[in-house]
Symmetry: C2
Subunit: 97 residues, 2 copies
Amino acid sequence: MDKDEILKALANPARMDILNWLKNPEEHFPTQEHPFEMGVCASQFERCGLSQSTVSAHLGTLHRAGLVTSKRVGQWIFYKRNEETIAAFLQQLTQDL
Amino acid sequence: MDKDEILKALANPARMDILNWLKNPEEHFPTQEHPFEMGVCASQFERCGLSQSTVSAHLGTLHRAGLVTSKRVGQWIFYKRNEETIAAFLQQLTQDL
DNA sequence: TCCATATATCGGGAAAATCCGATTTATACT
DNA sequence: AGTATAAATCGGATTTTCCCGATATATGGA
């Protein structure tokens, strides 16, 4: 759990949006045809107006920071919030800051 | 209270250090001759190894984000943590994130 | 094997962040 | 007025971030 890396990951509106959208997949990704238990399909995030490669980079940043988990299912990769890391980060920040 | 601006301000090790040092001025700034009730004199932060202009810019960033307050006393400017904003930010982040 | 789809990576351009030394501004003291 | 100290701002070099289109890689199905 690298606090600095997480702070950098959060210090970007697009990535913060992604994390927030993942709190309510049903609401924010109504076009997804896969069940939401698997998570949200990477391509769904292109709805923010950014290109596929940019979205992929943002998801990579969030994943490297430990804020999301990913799981390949066939040709798709599904993302979920990593609530454990998020909670641990908030706890540490509350203590440190 | 601009959450994004605060996150950007926190996403830098030097600025995070400054905020942390301000929690225990007596311990981290033993060379200060002014009473700590006024806060910590700007020049004290040059102990992090950065130049005067760079330290000034970091303090400006923290101040613009509302994370510290400043008060001019004579030719010096003293800085303190802004606990209200810090607490409000933590609360909002815990709710939003 | 060949093609379609999904994602990652590459290469590069634009913008923002970081840092410094030099200068300017503000205050204090003589 | 003249000097000294503290802090902000300027100008510029370097690094990092952000974004894109193009290409590479991975998987699935015909």
